[in-house]
Amino acid sequence: MATMTLGTPPARRSELLARLRSGTVGNLARALAGNRKAMAGTVVLAFFAFCAVFPGVLASDNPNAEIYARAAAPSAAHLLGTTSYGQDVFAQLVWGTRQSLVIALVVGGLATVLSVAIGVTAAYLGGIADDVLSLFTDVFLVIPAFPLIVVIAAYSKNGGDTILIAVLVATGWSYGARQLRSQALSLRSRDFLVAAKLRGERRWRIIVFEILPTMTSLIVANFLGAALYAVLAAAGLQFIGLGNPSSMSWGTMLYWAENNEALQAGMPLWAIMPGIAIALLGGAFSLLNFAFDEIGNPALRPVRRARGRRNP
C-alpha cells in the first residue's frame, strides 16, 4: 500500500502566526521577541506593571503625605520636585500607575468581552438575532461618547472609579463589536465551520471553539485598543474633575496640577510628567497593537535584510 511519509513542510508559512495560535505562553513570548514594536511596547508595559505591583520599590515616600517642602524644584531627594501641597511628585507618579493601569486593563477586558459576545454571536446567528444585536450596537456606536461620559460622570460624581469604569465600558465596546462581527461574518462560510456543523457540533461550541480561536489576533487588538481608549478617556475625565479627586492616579495629578496652576507656578514637572506617563502607556498599547497586526498578518511585516548578506 503506497504510503506517504511526512516530508519537509510545504511552502513557507508564518511560523510565528501558527505558534501564536497554539497558545502557549512560551510561543507567545517568542513571537513578541521577534518583533521590534512588540518588544518596545512590552518593555514599557512591563515597567509600568512593575510600578503598579511594587510601587514601594521605586518610590519609598508616601505619595499622599503632605510633609515635604512645598513647590520644591527637582533634587536628589525629590526627583521630580514637590507639589504645592508638599507631596513628592515622583512618588505620586509611581503610585498612581496602579490605578491608571488597572482602569485600562479592566475597561479593556470588559469592553472586549462585551464586543466579542455581541459581535460574534450576531454574525453567527444571523437573521433577526443579528438585526437586533446590530441595531443595539449601532445605537451605542452613534451616541457621542465624550458628552455622554461627561453627563453620566457629572451626575454620579460620588461613585468614583466604579462609575468611571462602567461608563468607559459602555462607550467603548460598540466599535469592537462591529469589527468582530465583520470578521466573524467573513469566516462564516469557511469550510471548517461548515465542516464543524456537519460534524454535529452544537452552535455554542462552534462559536467558542471554532470561531473565536481564529479571531484571537483581532480580539487582542480590540483589547489593546480599548485599553488605550480607557487610559486616555479616564485621564481626560479625571482631569476635568469628574473622577474621584482624592484617588491616586495620573489623571487626578493633572487635575490638581491644573487647579494649582503648576506650569505657571514653577512646578512644571507636576503637570508634564503625568501627561508623559499617560502618553507612554498609551503608546505601549499602540505599539503592541501594531505588533499583533504584524504577527497576525505577515504581509504587514517590515522587510529587513538578513544582516550582512547580499548575493552578488
Binding site: 503506497a2 506517504m4 511519509t5 516530508g7 519537509t8 513542510p9 510545504p10 511552502a11 513557507r12 521577534g34 522587510v303 529587513r304 535584510r305 538578513a306 548578506r309 547580499r310 548575493n311 552578488p312
Partner: protein, 343 residues
Amino acid sequence: MADAILEVHGLSVEYLTRREPAHAVDNVSVDLAPGEFLGIVGESGCGKSTLLFAIAQLLSPPAEISGGEVLFKGKNMVQMTERQLRTVRWKDYSVVMQSAMNALNPVKSIAAQFADAMRAHGTRSKSDIAARSREVLALVGIDPVHLSSFPHQLSGGMRQRAMIAMALLFSPELILMDEPTSALDVVAQRSLMVQIKELQRELGFAIIFVTHDMSLVSHFSDRLVVMYAGQVAELGPTREVFDAPMHPYTSGLLDAFPSIYGPKVHLDGIPGSPPDLGALPSGCRFNPRCSRSTAACSTTVPELYEVGGRTVRCLLHAPERSDAVAGLREGSRPMTVEAGSDA
C-alpha cells in the same frame, strides 16, 4: 538565439527573510523568439509565477531580483527605472493575471478600465479610445455592447476574455499570462485557449504561458519549460518533451494525468511534495522523490545539459554518462550525439 525578443540570462529571485534568503527562482535562462508560444509548467511553489512576475518587473518586497538580466528587445529591464518601464509596459509587453475578478476593478465598467489603461499610456482622444476598445473586444469575441458592463455582470469566461482584450490594447509584441484559465470550467478553458492561439496567429505576438496543468499547453505551445524548486528541469520543443520526456520529473508529471483515451491504467503520481526552498536536499533537488535516482544524485548537483536541441537538468543525461563520444564545439558545452537517451 538570434533575434530573440526576450532573453533571460541567469535570473534569480530572492525572498528576503530573517534567515537565509530563499531562492524562489534560481539562475533561470531562457530565450523567446518573436511570435513564439512558450509554456512554463510546474507544481505549486516551483517558482513559475515568480519567474513571470520577475520578467514583467512586477515583483514587490519581500521578493526581489537578486541576479541576472532580462533583455527585452535588447534592453535590460532589470536596470530600468520605473519611469522607463512605464514606456515599455503595456505597449511592448502586457500581462494577463490569473483571476479577472482580482485584476479588474469591480466598480468600474469595462469601457472605463480600457480608457484608464489607454490614457495612462498616452492615448487621449475619446474617439480613439472608443474605437480601439471596440476593436479589441471584437478580437476576443465579446459583443461591444458589454463595454458598459461591470465585471460581475460578465460570466467567468467573458471576464478572462476582457482581460486579454485589455492586454491587446496596444498590440504588444509579448504577452505574459499567469494561469489565465485556472478559474474556468473545462469547456470555457478549451475555447479560451483556442482563442488565444488564434489571436497569436493573427497578431503575431509572443506568449509566455504559466500553468500547473501541462496538458493545457500541450497542443498550443511551441516550446515548454518544466520548472522544479526554482530551477529549470527541462526545456525543449513541446511535442518532443511530451513524447520523449528526459527528466524523471517530467515523466512523473505526464504519468500523473488520468486519460480518457486508451485503457484504464493504474497511476501512482509523484510521491512526496516539493522541497522547502529554505531546506533543499543535497545534490539534485528532485532526488528524494525520484524513482530513478542513484547514489550520485544526492551528492552531485546536476547542471543543465544540452541534449539534441533540448536541455535537461539530470545526471542521467550528463555528457560523461553518454555512450557516444562527445565532441566539443567552440564556445558551447559538449553535446551528446544521441538525443534523449531514454524517457
